[in-house]
Amino acid sequence: MSADADIVGAVAAGQAPGTAAAHVALAVLLVLYPLVASDFFLTQIGGYSLIQGLIALSLMLLAGYGGMVSLAQITIAGVAGYVVAIFGVNNSGVHGFGWPWWVLVPFAILCAALASSLVGWISVRTSGIYTIMITLAIATASFYFAQQNYSFFNGFPGYNGIPAPQVLGVNWRGPMPFYYLCLGTASLAYAAVLYGQRSTFGLTLQAIRDNPRRMHALGFDVTAHKVFAWFLAGVIAGAAGVLLVWFQGRISPGTISVGTAINVLIIAVIGGIRHPIGPFLGAVLVVLLQTFAIDIVGAARFNTLIGFVFLVIVFVSPDGILGLWQRFRPRAAREAWTPEP
């Protein structure tokens, strides 16, 4: 996380100075990470974790503050990804209108945010397991539609050869620039969520989560607040979708399949949805596991290992990694933050 953004976020959130110090330490670590990491660890682990974390963050925003668990976040990221592929440049020979990046990126994110609002508007009158079912249905239908539609989505193969733009003489898909691009976007989104949580809108949303009928009786427009939360989540997921398509250099229905949709939920649950740092912790763990499990247990059973680790984490701590952290915090905090004698 960039230092400035985090301090602003922490102060705005009215948190203890200890949290600010932790943010600074984390920011320094993440900014200096490229000094020690190989190109692979920069993009395939670092960049990819940040992207997955962003998508899970959009879910955390909805689930943590709005009480709406969505399985369609990867679909919304996919909307932005497909917009970049269709209106930008690709070498699949289908569409590819070659819009410049400064029109394309805002347009893609806007499309994702509108798609997200639409999903929200459809599902907002439901709650609990019904929201999950509706969003799962939307994600599944979108996946199969993208896979079988050739005129717009180019079917199973999707779009190939989608470059990241060259801006200011920098190739933004180069390992170092791309890592910082992801880091910058993630920090911004993280700080925005921390800030938003304490804003009037954020507090209202949390109140709606806790008691929608009372908020309605007090004169708040419950539906509008929820749909706006979906819009904001769509902005975050859309930004992640743009980064994702630059990261892969391609997009196909495999990117928005049901498996990946559930993956986002797993990341959020593993990380914990009480605090916006949770999705990023979850993403790092999941990406590391998915990349290296095959080296640990061989090709036949590596998915079993991944599943087993998830099971253990959720079993030991229903709040995910964040919950584990909280459990040990009082003692650790005492050790660390008491003034020295």
């Binding site: 330490a25 020690v36 070498n91 199973f156 391609r250 495999g254 080296d295 090709a299 650790a332």
Partner: protein, 414 residues
């Protein structure tokens, strides 16, 4: 501020994250990446592909060019994105100089695109058999010693029309580039011979419920051409039989191979007598093939007879090992490795293999028919060998390219 447990944890995490990037360079081993589908609908196929690659390695005693060969595995779920992600890991993290794979059609096209960005690494196909992996816009460092899906169909269209007497055929196939290629290869001959294909059904990979597809097959067709793989083939065939389907089948190369023929259940009544074509035939009685089957059976979990995935990975892995041998284990110059691979021409269990100018193989093809073997297993009985089929199926190259890229609608003869 004292050093707290939290700081130590953070430090430990950072070290753990960066440690694996310190590659341990060992001079006496060469790493070869093997990329196959170890998850998803094609898992069984991917595992058999791995067996094939290991069979080749065992044949060389685990050594090539005086160096020990270390196999690093990568897994995809048959989607192009996952294949590229796995390839990136093998190339950029594990540092393989040669990558063997991937397994399925669009994965091959995606990995070919990725290969262009990694000129120092040499990519050798697994069994992916889409036409455009090598035909249009090929990558200079992507080699395919296995053949493509249209080549695999050599002889089948003519056989179905003239010998079997099928005047009209409905097509049921998966909706991606490999089945398009197979259908192209089948129809190129079948339509030329005078056959008609009034209906084509494209189903997504991993489809479970085929009832609407089965209902859409016209009643008056003489046969159904099925190009489905792995679990999809088993699901379709079972449901077609349950629905009371009577039409005889014509099989794509992976529809009636060992991964499907060994599945449990009452499929055998439907399958017996199904003609097909591909790069292998189970009852091939040449000494080379028999020796290959014996070697293959040494692998854990092997089928009674190797599938074409085992065969394809075997041939491609063998090409890699032969090239390493010829270079004496010195892979420092990728251009030299490429020249060596391009010039390879070797005898395989299924005849001579050499490459064309697009680095795609020219090899013998086998026309087969499903029969019950002496031990009760279903096998593909060899009907005819079609010698040395090239990628343009014997048609002049410019004429062949003019037929257009394979797709849902190309070719067409309703």
């Amino acid at each position: 501020m004292t050093l707290s447990r939290r700081h130590i944890l953070a430090l430990a995490m950072t070290t753990a994250l960066t440690l694996p990037s310190v590659a341990l360079a060992q001079d006496d081993t060469i790493k070869i990446g093997v990329l196959a589908t170890f998850e998803g609908a094609f898992t069984v196929l991917g595992e058999d592909g791995e067996r094939g690659a290991l069979t080749a390695l065992a044949e060389f005693g685990g050594m090539a060019g005086g160096k020990k060969i270390e196999v690093v595995r990568g897994s995809s779920d048959a989607s192009p994105d996952s294949a590229v992600r796995a390839a990136r890991k093998l190339v950029e993290q594990d540092g393989v100089k040669i990558l063997v794979g991937p397994l399925s059609g669009d994965e091959g096209i995606a990995v070919k695109e990725y290969a262009k960005s990694q000129p120092d690494v040499t990519f050798i196909n697994g069994t992916s058999a889409a036409q455009d992996t090598t035909l249009r816009d090929p990558a200079p460092n992507f080699f395919r010693f296995s053949t493509d899906g249209a080549q695999w169909m050599a002889g089948l269209g003519t056989y179905a029309f003239t010998e079997k007497g099928y005047q009209t055929v409905a097509v049921v196939a998966e909706d991606y580039s490999f089945p398009y290629t197979q259908v192209f290869g089948f129809m190129a001959e079948y339509c030329k011979a005078g056959g008609k294909v009034p209906s084509k059904s494209w189903v997504p990979i991993g489809n479970k419920d085929f009832s609407s597809v089965i209902a859409a097959i016209p009643d008056d067709v003489d046969a159904i051409y099925v190009a489905l793989g792995g679990a999809d083939a088993v699901n379709f065939l079972t449901q077609y039989q349950d629905a009371g389907g009577q039409a005889p089948l014509v099989g794509g190369s992976i529809t009636v191979d060992q991964t499907v023929l060994t599945s449990k259940g009452k499929l055998r009544d439907v399958l017996v007598g199904t003609p097909s074509a591909g790069p292998i035939a189970d009852t091939n009685d040449s000494a080379e093939w028999m020796a290959f089957v014996d070697a293959y059976k040494q692998q854990a979990g092997a089928f009674p007879s190797p599938s074409l995935f085992a065969h394809g990975y075997y041939i491609n892995m063998k090409a890699a090992l032969l090239a390493i041998d010829q270079l004496g284990g010195d892979l420092s110059d990728p251009a030299k490795l490429r020249d060596t691979l391009g010039g390879l021409s070797f005898d395989t269990p299924t005849g001579k293999v050499s490459l064309d100018k697009n680095r795609n193989a020219v090899a013998d093809m086998f026309l087969t028919e499903v029969t019950e073997g002496t031990d009760g297993n279903l096998v593909n009985k060899l009907i005819k060998v079609v010698p040395q089929v090239n990628q343009t199926l014997g048609i002049a190259e410019d004429e062949f390219l003019a037929l257009g890229a394979v797709s849902r609608d190309n070719p067409s003869c309703p």
